[in-house]
Symmetry: C2
Subunit: 115 residues, 2 copies
């Protein structure tokens, strides 16, 4: 059976909506990463660990609740958030490593200046 | 070194921002799933395949461009979209299966009525 012209028109319209929502997703994720980038810097500067299991647990519980309220599958919301959080933790670890490398270089520089 | 009070205040403020952005994410994902649910129904009713590689390729190219413009890592944006798309395709396949099961039951019902 060939797809009816009406169905294809509706399909195109819904795909436009999906494309608009994806543009919003990218914008929100970009803002979220700017925020977590700053969290990573604060953690590195204050020797706080990259991950925070207690905070992550609360985040996931809240998101599952928000997802249920929005009729979104909570399992899916949790999978997505876990994916984002694991990416963020990797970045925090990289920021902390870079911070340690910077400090080491600064120490070496000071040692040279004192020599 | 203990985290300074100022750093902890800033950390709490940024975490509030992250929580707000996550609530937006959940809302947008919920709307996106409503849209893809309808796409799944249209595809099942019109015997269209669950996935559409050409459309997915264009979606990913566009998202990588939007991500670059928003200073979001395009690799990460692509990973997230691939994750969402694979979840959507699984749902489309389930919708198509349910549609086929419904049709089969209707056929059986008609056969019984004719018997």
């Amino acid at each position: 059976m060939k797809a009816s012209e009406q169905a294809m028109t509706e399909l195109r319209s819904i795909r436009d909506t999906i494309d608009n929502l994806d543009a919003v997703l990218v914008g929100v994720l970009a803002e979220r990463f700017k925020a977590t980038q700053r969290v990573g810097e604060l953690k590195a500067l204050n020797d706080l660990p990259a991950g925070d299991p207690e905070r992550e647990k609360l985040q996931i519980e809240r998101l599952r609740r928000l997802a249920s309220e929005a009729q979104l599958d909570p399992e899916f919301a949790e999978k997505i958030l876990n994916f984002i959080i694991s990416e963020v933790i990797q970045r925090h670890e990289r920021i902390a490593e870079e911070h340690r490398a910077d400090e080491q270089r600064a120490d070496e520089h000071r040692a040279e200046a004192d020599a």
